[in-house]
């Protein structure tokens, strides 16, 4: 798309008139715009705007062989009840049960659960794995939220209840 004026602008020119035309040089942006439009259309069609991530989960009754063969000092099991309560069972050198009541709206108090898990982890640093189970009707989102919260303190979460 090089018109006559632009081609004159590129020409070396002779004398004062030629130098003036060189100073008026104007970049032809039309083909660049064409490239941008094509690229943007391609990227928008093929782009995935929802970033999909991955949560690692094991199965308490199977799956890959555990890396650590030594028995942990304590074991932690978290259970989601259908009524919104969260039960936490600690066994081993420290044995106790914690029950977190449901929120006023009937939901799970997952932040409180995360706080309790962090306290237990601080007390027992060797605790590397938690078993998580839920009643049959508990929605998958609640299970995922629990895994996400537990993993902030304890890296290994194995799904249980099989």
């Amino acid at each position: 798309m090089m018109d006559g004026e632009t081609s004159r602008a590129w020409s070396p020119g002779v004398g004062g008139e030629g130098r003036k035309q060189e100073q008026d040089f104007d970049l032809n942006l039309a083909p660049i715009i064409d490239c941008f439009v094509v690229l943007i259309a391609f990227v928008m069609i093929s782009a995935a705007f929802a970033s999909i991530g991955i949560l690692d989960a094991g199965i308490a009754a199977g799956g890959a062989a555990p890396l650590a063969v030594t028995d942990p000092e304590v074991r932690l099991k978290v259970e989601l009840s259908p009524d919104g309560a969260i039960g936490m069972q600690l066994t081993g050198k420290e044995a106790r049960e914690i029950t977190l009541p449901p929120l006023k709206n009937g939901g799970y108090d997952i932040p409180a659960m995360g706080q309790k898990v962090a306290e237990i982890k601080a007390k027992w640093p060797s605790l590397e794995k938690t078993r998580l189970t839920a009643e049959n009707k508990v929605p998958y989102q609640e299970v995922i939220s629990s895994i996400e919260t537990i993993r902030k303190s304890i890296p290994g979460v194995a799904l249980d209840g099989f």
Binding site: L29, L39, M44, A47, A61
Partner: protein, 145 residues
């Protein structure tokens, strides 16, 4: 006014450049290359895991799919009781995963389940995969950020 109008496209080029940079920055940041079926609402969770590859097991409201192909029909996210074995695995899903692992050996399953699915269905799907020989389970989520 000479009657000629020249379009100022320098600013347009700037806008296109910004859009292009934004799109390229957000392009392909997901851990897996997958397109969930229409109607599938994936759970939200913040993750920092790297990319993963494996058999894609999708649990939607009315169907279970393996690598995009429907292998079992379910109703309201639940397997029919006749399809479940004594260990809680779905017979049809386990058969499909048996075929899949024979054709493409591997140990990793990526579960793409609807956030409304009950835990009993997730358990059945994971049990079916474990029965078929899969040992490494990944749960696909949508990063809220």
């Amino acid at each position: 006014m000479d009657g000629q109008m020249s379009l100022q496209i320098t600013s347009m080029a700037d806008i296109f450049m910004i859009i292009l940079v934004f799109l390229l920055k957000t392009y392909g940041t997901g851990a897996i290359d997958v397109t969930p079926s229409p109607g599938l609402v994936m759970p939200l969770a913040a993750t920092v895991s790297g990319p993963a590859e494996g058999v894609k097991l999708e649990i939607a409201e009315g169907a279970v799919r393996v690598n995009g192909a429907q292998v079992a029909a379910i109703k309201d996210f639940e397997f029919s009781s006749g399809d479940l074995s004594a260990v809680g695995a779905s017979k049809t899903l386990a058969a499909a995963l048996d075929t899949e692992i024979r054709e493409r050996p591997g140990s990793q399953v990526i579960v793409l389940a609807d956030r409304r699915a009950p835990y009993v269905t997730i358990k059945a799907a994971l049990a079916s995969a474990a029965v078929s020989g899969y040992t490494d389970f990944k749960l696909a989520v949508v990063n809220p950020n």
